[in-house]
Amino acid sequence: MFPSQPVIKVEHLSKLYRLGQVSTGSISHDLNRWWAHVRGKQDPYLTIGEPNRVGKGSSDYVWALKDIDFEVQQGDILGIIGKNGAGKSTLLKLLSRTTSPTQGSIKVKGRIASLLEVGTGFHPELTGRENIYLNGAILGMTQTEIKRKFDQIVDFAGVERYIDTPVKRYSSGMYVRLAFAVAAHLESEILVIDEVLAVGDLEFQKKCMGKMGDVANKEGKTILFVSHNMQAIQKMCNKGLLLKNGLLSSQGSMEKIIQQYLSDASPNQANVKIENGQSKEMMPGYATDVQIIDEHQQLIPEIPVGKLWSVKVRYQINTSLESFVFAIGISTELDVAIRTVFTEPHKIGPGQYEAVLSYTDIMLSSGKYNIAIGLSNYEKTFAYYPDVACVWISDISDVRDEKIVKTKATGLIINPLNIYVTKIS
């Protein structure tokens, strides 16, 4: 390996947004604002509900990013993660030069191309061929570069037959494939990607991921990647950057960063308090707490794959019920129901109760699962909480169990299933 050298160096990068002067786009508004100011009233157009994270209520200024320092080495695939409003998009905007920083600097070696949304700059009236050239040029390629890559692009997108048809007649899938193909074949040394892999069908997504990996590993390009899709990030990135409220929380290897991100989310994720509102005393009963716990009764926000976990639910019953049933459902992130478990109908009196769902036989593969709970009497549900909590089963496993052969890409359930092969003739 050649000694890696930084291709991006970010120093003290900050971006300030001013809330009080959010442009409202018309002279009448400005006059109105001025008039309100003269009378000593509050700005009538001040955006309300802005996540004012620094100095709440006391300042019109919000640091979307504050004092960010990091370096990216050549060939790195850097994943940038963080909650909504952590400053990921702002960072990408600064990197792709669509807005300028308030303080600090970004130093870049080589060309930087951003692929923030697939199909940016496509013109519906132009043919696929014309759009490849136009889009490539928008992303910073010269005509000769595009000409050289043209066949590869068309081939990757799989649109040979329609290349001289206006893209407005393309199916949305073809459109996206072509757009991604152009971007993936950019001749820039640094690629900035924002959630683009969330498009197209699954097969194409896989192809894209593979392409991205190739681009970084074989061509030595540097990729900056923003996504909420932890699986994609974990698969692709080797380095990570965790942003929190506009501050750089930590950086390092992607695995470490993801673990930190997950543990940051722990208090609410593994221990959910349910708000039932004013009318809860009128209800026959209601749930109060949901906890995800491990075999030692400890809260566990992120479950190593293969490890046992349980759901503990506390609920309050206000009146005597004749045929009470408590139910817990588990579904995948895509709302595919996996299992709903019911208690036997039973008599129940007022009081506080605790129900624990435990199991030993099923092993779910890594991913996010949603928990729903329901309380009913005589098959009539009086309290139902969809997606009340979620269970995160991580790829990282501390279970040394030969029963778990493969934890990825083998389906939802990873219990051992055997195939017996016998020669019959």
Binding site: S26, K93, V108, K109
Partner: protein, 285 residues
Amino acid sequence: MNTKKEEQWDLIIKPRTPLFNLELQEIWKYRDLLLLMVKRDLTTVYKQTILGPLWFVLQPILTTLIFTLIFGEIAGLPTGEIPAVLFYLSGLIIWNYFSETLLSTSKTFTENAAIFSKVYFPRLIMPLAKVISGLLKFFIQLALFLIVLAYFIFLKGLDISLNGSFLILPFLLLLMAGLALGAGILLSALTTKYRDLIFLINFGVQLMMYATPVIIPLSDVPPRYQWFMTINPMTPVIETFRYIFLGTGTMDVSGLLYSFAFTTILLFVGIIVFNKVEKSFIDTV
């Protein structure tokens, strides 16, 4: 390895850039994009129309015919000693270029907000592409004008002595393009904040035509009102254009100098404001 010299960076993104930053190098780097944008502007306008590029010449022909009928025949407005058709056509092709380019460049930010918020390239590419595609369209219309002129000279015996003044034509076109670009980018920068301006520009440009000698020659305007036309920097351009090809009107050097000064200042201010808005407009849309 042992050289400890300052590292070489290709690009440094910093908060402040100089006030007047043309970024000519950047624009040169993106010249292919400029070219493709020009091509896009020209080819997409008349896609799925039957007459296609014929519209480039049909527009001025039809407008000229209407003007000749209404202003020349019905209202009986004077056009000097030259045929009304030539008079209106010459004024119209110049004015059309100016008004269309001004209108399209003034929408630079509002129309391209989506793409500007995603990708970086020198923003001036967009208005420049409009200026250039407009010029190509103008040349087609100029050819039409020359054909009509030739028809009048050879078949109608119109006596026009072409002199050396046509050498000034490139300068005229530069003025015309510069004025449209300067005003367009200045307005486009202002419309990001004040959307009201969009409506103002649309009919403002229509009204402005009456402050040019497109319909009435400057010499036929009562002296009391002449200032109204002469402060318009497009007036010397149209007058001189007619002087070059039709031998009428005036070739007023001071007027041209006025236009030149006006264009220079307008472009200068336009680029400053445009650059300033370009840096932060994504935060304010």
